[in-house]
Amino acid sequence: MEEVQSKVMGGRQGDDPYASPRWKQRLAKFSRNLKGIFGMLVIGAVLFCAIFSSLIAPQDPYTQSLEARLAPPAWEKGGQKDHLLGTDHLGRDVLSRLIYGSRVSVIVGFSAIFVSGTIGVLLGLIAGYFSRIAGAIIMRIVDMFLSIPYVLMAIAVIAAIGTGLFNLILVLALTRWSHYARIMNATVIKIKEEEYIEAARARGNSSLRIMVRQILPNAIPPILVLATLELAFMIIMEATLSFLGLGVQPPTPTWGLMSSEGREYITVAWWIITFSGLAIVFTVLGANLLGDWLRDILDPRLKV
């Protein structure tokens, strides 16, 4: 209403919505939905690759071949039809490794999100509801975790427990749970003051019942949005850690490892790091757009 008031009192020219072109608003609405479609397509493609890798990959990702090493992509001079995107320094097919690599990203990504999300949501719920004491303690711990750079934390933890897929998921969960907890805490504190919570109390609900049945369903949407955005983080972090040798170990194909290995050969074989890098970029972009779109949909104020 303040906008309307300022228009009444003498606003800027051209503020009159009556004169605003309808096509502009339609375009805005379309582009909002467009990013959702794009995001879903990309993430869908990645999932598809992960699930059906054995069916769609043209070659076995582990097979090495000394003659075929460092072969360029098929459309370049010296490329072969068998290896559409070329081969790496051990003669392994890049395209197949890319497709199989999506598995690691998906498994690590989804598992880490699940673990960190569960921990974060639970702790955030308790912190928000019992904000005076438990909340104060938990949020200080959250602050601590938020301030530690994740690479350092990863180095420390992996040095202690060793490398491996499971350990990688654990490390990722440890570094990200605090993000969920922070959002959950803020959301719960706000919801706690709503009148329907007081009504639930008047109707005999115990604190536990209120937290689970009344607050949680209302607090979940921002968490869902965060989760899709977290997928992007997970993939980048896995890539970074594998790049540094702290993540999944070779010869398992992962986009991070491929980038790390491809780095050494960038002057003679640009395709290794380029395609693995592009895979990361597109997946992250897709996840971000999907998260953006989800946030738009779940916001009742925007009419998407």
């Binding site: 209403m1 303040e2 008031q5 228009k7 009444v8 009192m9 003498g10 009159d16 009556y18 004169a19």
Partner: protein
């Protein structure tokens, strides 16, 4: 050409909202005229279209709404055909508006003095000092004590009733000829509301302003207004002097609404509320909008849209949109 004695004339106004559910016909064929210096009440329940009428006059209808047809004459000039640059000059300086919720209409980060000053300076070329003097004068005019000090206060330092008075001061600072008030007392306590209504009457006397007062409370209309128009589902269904409409209501809806008010002495009897609910403005049936709830409904009521019939005299019109009063059709909008 419209009569020159009316300061504001609305003819056949239609404002629709194009939503994903369908076309919501918020204002559907509304016509009325306002004489200079009179207080016209626009009464109706929520969803009847009263706020949309006000926003249409100032052409502040937000997307996805659109003023589809009609004419709005202010001092003889048609407003809907004016370019945005001219409307900007009219808003505030010629036609002002005060809103329902003072908390969201006043900017919390500026002092009220600054807001009044910037409003004044938006319409006139005056120095900051002169504008501040005027602002203090306005704050005083709305009976806020200690105006010189209070102009430097922020909106949260005022109570609800005072905030609304600040809104009036803000609106008055540009000296508009017409003031549109959209339900400004909804959030106020009854004793504060009484002060506020008396203030409006005083200001009308002092400045000779024309006031379009939107309300859902007939009690306020009874105290404040000279004439009142009753809105239902986007149409005016009855309009006349406040004495005629409230003491001898003609339209079944007006009658039903008046009967729904708990008035002193009702304890022994029972209030008979109107059955049913308001129609969905996106799916309006043909014929009288009130027909599904009307106890006096006749077959003809559903056949075609109902016209306006005159039941009063030429000087003191009392228009009713109801077939029960089929007789003299209202030709000229001037008498509305």
């Amino acid at each position: 050409m419209p009569a020159s004695q009316n300061i504001l004339e609305i003819q056949d106004l239609r404002t629709f909202f194009y939503t994903s559910r369908g076309v919501v016909k918020a204002v559907n064929n509304v016509s009325f005229a306002v004489k200079p210096g009179e207080i016209l009440g626009i009464a109706g329940e929520s969803g009847s279209g009263k706020t949309v009428v006000a926003l249409s006059i100032l052409r502040l209808i937000p997307f996805p709404g659109k003023i589809v047809s009609g004419e709005i004459f202010y001092k003889g000039e048609e407003l809907l055909r004016k370019p945005p640059s001219e409307m900007v000059k009219i808003r505030g300086a010629e036609i002002g508006m005060i809103f329902q919720d003072p908390m969201s209409s006043l900017n919390p980060v500026f002092t009220i003095g600054k807001q009044i000053v910037s409003a004044i300076q938006a319409h006139q070329k005056v120095s900051k000092e002169k504008a501040l003097e005027e602002a203090i004068r306005m704050v005083k005019a709305v009976n806020i004590p200690d105006p010189e000090r209070r102009v430097n206060a922020f909106q949260h330092e005022f109570s609800g009733g005072m905030k609304q008075r600040v809104m009036i001061a803000l609106a008055l600072s540009c000296h508009p000829r017409v003031l549109i008030a959209d339900n400004p007392t909804t959030a106020l306590d009854s004793t504060i509301q009484l002060q506020f209504l008396n203030l409006i009457l005083d200001l009308r006397k002092t400045y000779g302003m024309t006031i379009l007062y939107i309300t859902h409370d007939f009690g306020i209309a009874a105290k404040l207004c000279d004439r009142v128009a009753v809105l239902y589902a986007g149409e005016i269904i009855e309009i006349g002097s406040v004495f005629d409409v409230l003491k001898s209501p003609k339209h079944p809806y007006t009658r039903g609404l008046i009967d729904s008010y708990p008035t002193p002495g009702m304890r022994q009897k029972r209030i008979h509320p109107i059955e049913g609910k308001q129609p969905d403005l996106a799916f309006l049936p043909l014929g009288c909008r009130f027909a599904p709830r009307c106890k006096l409904v006749m077959p003809d009521c559903l056949a075609a849209d109902i016209e306006f019939f005159e039941t009063g005299t030429e000087e003191k019109g009392h228009g009713v949109r109801c077939l029960l009063y089929k007789g003299r059709k209202i030709e000229s909008r001037k008498s509305l």
